[in-house]
């Protein structure tokens, strides 16, 4: 509303001033005027985008030169025409267009007024005094312009007018100096009757202008994308996929291939960035998938495959990264069309994606076994990988050598790759692995913004501000611990400078400080007690060594578990061992089903394990151990007690059956493996057939 009033007033004053000052009879020197108009238009169309989002157009110089040479009337004609064409060209709304027209006219008319106070006649400047006056009029023009502009900014932002104007003036000093220089240069080459000389200097100025525009354009572009890269990278919250500089090495190998096939510098850049960021989507995938040693379930596989789409989506939001997003999207396609996500084949796959696919495989192969890497990659040519590119790759023997001296490549990566360095720094913190980022914000000029550029509220903001300022000043990342007294939360704060702004990452580390271990022990104990009680003493949770205590009896059989057929084998073994004693077929069925479930879990969630069978006076004990990642305690109540499929159609349904069908289940689990001891009574007990699950479910609901 206030803005509308301001704009309305400016438009009416400006238009009135034009009408008042304009006298059509005085319009003369059409050819020169047309020339100025032409160049004015060129300046208007080819604006220079300055860093930090402002634009500089050379048109004001044209208005002032028109005035000096041909008087106010001619200058106004130029101004109005250029403004009208600008409205059309930039598709401004009428309000914005008329406002610009009025603001420019007012600046021109008012600065002409100042000029007239000092000198009555216009014309080609000759003396030093004349040139000084020209400089003054230009300066006045720009000062007025900035004052009017500050009005808009003042209304739009909620800073004091003084602050706004100060900020704008500070930014404008170089452009105003440049304008004065340009105009004086143009005027000094103007000679009555020598239009070509004038055209020449106009052209020269225009070319200089174009060069500046080009340089700035590049600068701004680089700045923008650099900013957003770091922004996006820091959004990634932990190290779960950062396999020891895999991304950096894939970037390096891709670049070697790219150079060998003579990609253009622009393509090389794209290739390098895509390769560096090719796995960025993995950061949002459940980290258990990456830590998992066994094969993935279908659902896990689907989730895993989604990382290309996620990564691509993020990257497509980055200015100038649309191509890179597309390259990343297709880096898991296969030459034979069996890849994902789009199942493209051969030349349908983006060229640069095919290179990354090779580099990705190369890095894995070299890490596994360097001497066979080329042989193995050759085998993938034509099926998984582009055969032509593979042929190129295996010529590049220096790729292998570079792995010899890992120091060297690390140094190269650190030097050439700031992004990776920042990412490394963020990730290398041990604390972050367990805990997610609580806040990621962007700090600029005393304020915090979230990733969608809205103001963000941050705990401890008054303490973080000086840290952010310091990191910007020194150009160095800063890490600091803060204690929020209000909430009692401990934060680990990271400030990562990015030009005149900084990215701030806040991690809640309250639990880490000192108590982490105790907490876990306490939790386990509570779990143990609760589960023991809820399962009516049927399930016992024990720590590693405690399991031994329960392993009484004679070891009858041990059998390894490596592959699915072992399930059948083990089941048959148990079948033959219990058959003489367990005569009830229903009971036998239950025991065998239990064993089957337990064995299946080994193959699904770990790679291998072992089954042992013990017999005591009145029980059978079957111990099944694996080398998997362990069961997350938090999942235990759900996977042991709730009715199998009423929760999630994936993990741990078997647990429910084991709980129902065994007489006792002792579980020991940690990150290096899981042991399950299933006990069955030789004689059925009266209470062994209690319908357990429903009770458990009720208690936990």
């Amino acid at each position: 509303m206030r803005l509308n009033v301001y704009v309305g007033i400016m438009i009416s004053i400006g238009l009135t001033a034009i009408l008042y000052s304009f006298n059509i009879a005085e319009v003369n020197r059409i050819p020169y005027l047309l020339l100025l108009l032409l160049f004015g238009l060129l300046f208007a169309i080819y604006e220079v985008e300055l860093p930090y989002g402002r634009f500089y157009s050379g048109t004001s110089n044209i208005f002032i030169i028109s005035f000096i040479l041909f008087g106010l009337n001619n200058a106004l004609v130029t101004l109005v025409l250029i403004s009208l064409i600008e409205i059309f060209y930039y598709k401004y709304g009428w309000k914005k267009g008329l406002y610009n027209l009025s603001q420019d006219s007012l600046c021109l008319i008012l600065s002409v007024f100042t000029f007239n106070l000092l000198k009555s006649e216009t014309g080609v400047p000759e003396s030093l005094y004349d040139f000084t006056l020209v400089a003054i009029i230009i300066l006045t023009y720009h000062i007025l312009n900035l004052i009017f502009l500050s009005g808009v900014f003042y209304i739009l932002r909620s800073e004091s007018y003084f602050q706004v104007i100060l900020g704008i003036f500070k930014d404008a000093v170089p452009t105003v100096c440049f304008s004065i220089f340009l105009s004086l240069f143009l005027l000094s080459t103007y000679r009555e009757g020598y239009p070509f000389l004038f055209i020449q200097s106009l052209l020269f100025v225009f070319i200089v202008f174009m060069i500046i525009r080009y340089v700035f354009q590049h600068y701004v572009k680089i700045r923008k994308s650099h900013f957003s890269i770091i922004d996006s990278l820091t959004q990634m919250t932990d190290q779960k996929t950062f396999q020891d500089q895999h991304a950096a090495r894939v970037g390096w190998i891709s670049k070697q291939i790219g150079e060998a096939i003579k990609l253009s510098p622009e393509q090389l850049d794209q290739l390098y960035y895509s390769a560096m960021l090719h796995d960025i989507g993995k950061t949002s995938i459940n980290e258990n998938i990456f830590r998992k040693k066994g094969p993935l379930t279908l659902e896990e596989q689907k989730e895993y495959e989604s990382h290309v789409q996620l990564g691509s989506e993020w990257l497509s939001n980055i200015e100038g990264f649309q191509n890179i997003a597309n390259i990343v999207l297709h880096h898991h396609e296969r030459w034979d069309g069996k890849g994902f996500p789009a199942a493209l084949s051969e030349n349908q796959i983006p060229y640069l994606s095919r290179i990354i696919a090779i580099a990705n495989e190369m890095d894995h192969l070299i890490r596994k076994e360097k001497s066979t890497a080329f042989k193995k990659i050759k085998k993938m040519a034509g099926s998984q990988l582009d055969p032509h590119l593979v042929a190129v790759t295996i010529e590049l023997t220096h790729i292998l050598d570079s792995y010899e001296d890992s120091q060297e490549i690390t140094k190269w990566i650190m030097m050439s790759d700031y992004v990776s360095e920042v990412r490394q720094k963020v990730y290398n913190s041990e604390l972050l692995n367990r805990f997610g980022v609580n806040h990621i914000v962007y700090y600029a000029e005393g304020r915090f913004y979230n990733h969608s550029n809205q103001h963000a509220n941050l705990p401890c903001s008054s303490e973080i501000t000086p840290l952010a300022e310091q990191s910007i000043r020194e150009g160095q990342p800063i890490r600091h611990n803060l204690h929020d007294r209000e909430s009692g939360i401990m934060y680990d704060v990271y400030c990562l400078p990015a030009g005149r702004a900084a990215n701030i990452l806040l991690f809640d580390v309250t639990q880490v400080i000192g108590y982490e271990k105790e907490q876990e022990i306490k939790m386990r104990k509570i779990y143990k007690d609760v589960i023991y009680a809820v399962t009516q003493a049927k399930m016992l949770l024990v720590e590693g060594d405690e399991l031994e205590v329960h392993l009484k009896g004679d070891l009858a059989v041990a059998h390894p578990i490596h592959e699915p057929t072992d399930i059948t084998k083990c089941r048959h073994i148990i079948d033959s061992l219990i058959s003489p004693i367990i005569t009830d077929p229903k009971r036998k069925y239950k025991i065998l089903l239990c064993i089957n479930e337990c064995l299946t879990n080994v193959l699904k969630h770990a790679q291998q394990g072992e089954m042992k069978f013990y017999s005591t006076g009145d029980t059978f004990k079957i111990l099944i151990q694996d080398n998997g990642n362990g069961i997350d305690l938090a999942d235990l109540p759900k996977s042991t007690l709730m009715q199998g499929y009423s929760t999630k159609l994936s993990l741990g349904q078997g647990f429910k059956l084991m709980m129902s069908y065994s007489d006792r289940l002792i579980l020991s689990t940690n990150s290096s493996g899981t042991s399950i001891l299933l006990e069955f009574n030789k004689e059925p007990q009266l209470n062994s057939s209690i319908e357990f699950g429903n009770e458990g479910e009720m208690k936990f609901a």
Binding site: I567, T568, L593, Y645, Q653, K656, L657, E691
Partner: protein, 103 residues
């Protein structure tokens, strides 16, 4: 492995399964089912000859039944042995099938 028999009864294909349905045989079952689901919209799984079915097998059948409902394909289980019925009960299979039927 499983031995599988197929018999067309009116417009329903009855697939008889004999053996143990678990991780070792699930691949075979998936293959058979995918093949038959192409041109049959009514399938009955005859479980009378199944010696043992574990949560992997139950999970697969459940998923297949549910995911094919949206395509108007009807898969049902018939002749379920008592022991397997009991397992279904513990796993809540019938509840899931009924619940999702009305949605």
């Amino acid at each position: 492995l499983l031995s599988i028999t197929k018999q067309k009864q009116q417009n329903e294909l009855v697939i008889g399964i004999k053996g143990t349905i678990d991780l070792t045989t699930i691949g075979q079952l998936i293959e058979e089912m995918e093949m038959e689901l192409v041109d049959n919209s009514h399938i009955a799984l005859d479980l009378s000859q199944v010696e043992l079915i574990d949560s992997t097998g139950i999970g697969y059948i459940l998923r297949t039944v549910l995911s094919n409902r949206s395509q108007k394909k009807d898969i049902r289980m018939i002749n379920i042995p008592e022991m397997i019925e009991e397992t279904f009960e513990i796993m809540g299979v019938n509840q899931i099938l009924d619940m999702n039927h009305h949605v």
